[in-house]
């Protein structure tokens, strides 16, 4: 049983099920990556773990506690943090205000955490007074990740953080992701750029039609000829 573990998940957005019994988990200090073809239910699985859709069956366990029925806000207070794929920053608010909103549930002084985020993403420190909507795509993703880190989460969930950013920015972001994982945070990530993501993954999940097709370490999946042929373009 991992630190965060979703098991036997069934559910969807009201209509037919999208998830058909998939299981996903991640431990502290690890990077887990979910890959798979379009429509495999990668993002849906992630949202299910965060409580953003109703599960018909299956359970979500965080730190040996069943949280399957908790609303997302309560999962935030338990140390889960989620970066959605789209609209993941407050565009009309400054970088600093974005981070402040990330720390909304905290009552203590969050300045040290903000300084940590600024040292992780130095460019944000320079642009702290600029509205997040005026930043480039890569910088926005940094704001989004930074906002999610403000709660000092134990689990950070990223839904396609590199969608629409250049390869250089992607490498840069993945480096930061590894850095964050090293501080003992569990990172669960859905990625389109499967090959690059699996390279940094301690655990990889290949989902197809809402079910686990392959589960292994990132390196093992990359080495598996069948996975390469079917999902990584040879």
């Amino acid at each position: 049983m991992s630190f965060l573990q979703g098991g036997g998940l069934y559910g969807g957005y009201g209509g037919a099920d999208i998830l058909h019994g998939c299981s996903i988990g991640v431990d502290k200090g690890e990077v887990a990556v979910v890959v798979g073809p379009n429509g495999a239910g990668k993002s849906t699985a992630m949202r299910a773990l965060f409580g953003l859709l109703d599960l018909r069956e299956g359970s979500v366990v965080l730190d040996e506690k069943d949280i399957s029925r908790l609303p997302p806000q309560e999962r935030v207070t338990l140390g889960m943090s989620f970066v959605p794929q789209n609209a993941n920053v407050f565009t009309s608010m400054t970088v600093e205000e974005n981070l402040e909103m990330g720390a909304f549930v905290r009552q203590d002084d969050f300045r040290p955490t903000m300084d940590q985020v600024f040292s992780l993403f130095p460019v944000l420190g320079q642009k702290r007074s600029q509205p997040a909507g005026e930043l480039s795509g890569g910088q926005r993703q940094q704001v989004a990740v930074g906002r999610a880190l403000m709660t000092q989460p134990s689990v950070l969930m990223l839904d396609e953080p590199t969608a629409g950013v250049s390869p250089i920015v992607m490498d840069e972001l993945f480096d930061r992701v590894i850095e964050i994982a090293k501080t003992g945070i569990a990172i669960l990530m859905v990625e389109q750029n499967a090959r690059q993501a699996l390279e940094i993954a301690d655990r990889g999940f290949v989902l197809v039609q809402g079910q686990n097709r392959y589960t292994d370490t990132g390196q093992a999946l990359l080495a598996d000829p069948e996975v390469r042929r079917s999902f990584l373009g040879g």
Binding site: P72, V76, A87, N88, F90, S92, E97, M101, G102, F104
Partner: protein
């Protein structure tokens, strides 16, 4: 030289001072509309009647205070009664939200449904107000009537034209400045204010950040109710209170909010003044100003008025149409706080 000064004083007396006053009233009203739009995402047509309700409670309290012999010196007693009006209006707004709007929020009703619901509340409120205070005209301004009298100004400056500033006009502008400063301080400097902006900007992300939507909605109604009571009272003080006029007031208020960029508080204020000054400048009779500015004794034959004052309301419509055609997002792009 004195001719030019006379012309300027004439314009100040009939356009600038009334424009600033009316603009402040519209700005405060539009601010309330824009807040609801930004956070609850619907056009609240009941806002004019909410203002009327606030003004009514203030008037009733003013009468009660006057009966007790309590006045506010040179200032209108209504200012003392205003806090009661604010509290009553806030309670009323929260009550309507709890009983009516909350249901539609849970149903995830679309904005058109909300709009119709707000029209329903408009009728309930306007009936309630007429039932309690009656449909007549009420003048409840007391205290000193003028800050500056026309005659005193003439004596002071030796000009032919006088500049009169009513106490209610001064009170309106000063109150509006204080309230707007408070609102901006609240939205930009406080944690709660920022959470409102965050919710308005991106509802889903606000939820992911642990911002409690129920609290944001409640605070929005508190602010809107307070703004409505203040705007309604100031308008009534300045122009006399009559329930019917508040129905008509909804139009220039919406025009202000949309012209400025609905959902944007800065836009609401700018829009208020744009609409107010357009109405006044287009319906002002320039005859005497031109007489002063042209050499010799020539006086234009007509009134040199672009529009009859009967068309005042049409001006805000025309501005509205022009803005929607040319720049639908308004002067300041709207939609977020």
């Amino acid at each position: 030289m004195t001719d030019i000064l006379n012309a300027l004083v004439l314009l100040a007396n009939f356009v600038l001072v009334p424009g600033l006053t009316y603009g402040s009233q519209l700005a405060l009203g539009a601010l309330g509309v824009t807040m609801i739009y930004a956070v609850l995402r619907f056009s609240n047509f009941g806002h004019g009647e909410t203002m009327s309700f606030g003004a009514m409670i203030t008037i009733l309290t003013t009468w009660w205070l006057q009966e007790k012999g309590i006045t506010f010196g040179v200032l209108p007693t209504a200012l003392l009664a205003l806090p009661v009006g604010i509290i009553a209006t806030v309670v009323m707004c929260l009550l309507f939200d709890r009983v009516v709007y909350r249901y539609y929020r849970r149903e995830k009703a679309n904005p058109v449904t909300y709009l119709i619901v707000s029209v329903g509340i408009l009728f309930i409120l306007s009936g309630l107000v007429r039932f309690i205070i009656g449909p007549q005209d009420r003048v409840f301004a007391d205290g000193e009537r003028f800050i500056m009298k026309a005659r005193a100004f003439k004596q002071m400056t030796g000009l032919d034209q006088g500049l009169a500033i009513k106490t209610t006009q001064g009170v309106t502008v000063v109150t509006a400045i204080v309230i707007v400063a408070l609102i901006f301080w609240f939205l930009n400097r406080t944690r709660t204010g920022k959470s409102m902006r965050a919710y308005s900007d991106n509802e889903d992300l606000a939820l992911l950040s642990g911002i409690n939507p129920a609290k944001v909605v409640a605070i929005t109604w508190v602010i809107t109710g307070a703004l409505a009571a203040i705007a309604g009272t100031l308008y009534g003080l300045d122009k006399g209170y009559k329930p019917f006029t508040y129905l008509g007031l909804v139009l220039p208020i919406f025009a202000s909010a949309i012209v400025g960029g609905v959902g944007n508080p800065l836009g609401a204020i700018a829009g208020g003044f744009v609409v107010a000054f357009s109405e006044l400048l287009l319906t002002f009779a320039y005859k005497r100003v031109i007489a002063y500015l042209t050499p010799g004794d020539w006086i234009p034959e007509g009134l040199v008025q672009l529009l009859s004052t009967d068309y005042k309301l049409a001006v805000s419509f025309v501005i509205l149409v022009i803005v929607l055609l040319v720049k639908p997002t308004g002067i300041f792009s709207g939609k977020t706080l």
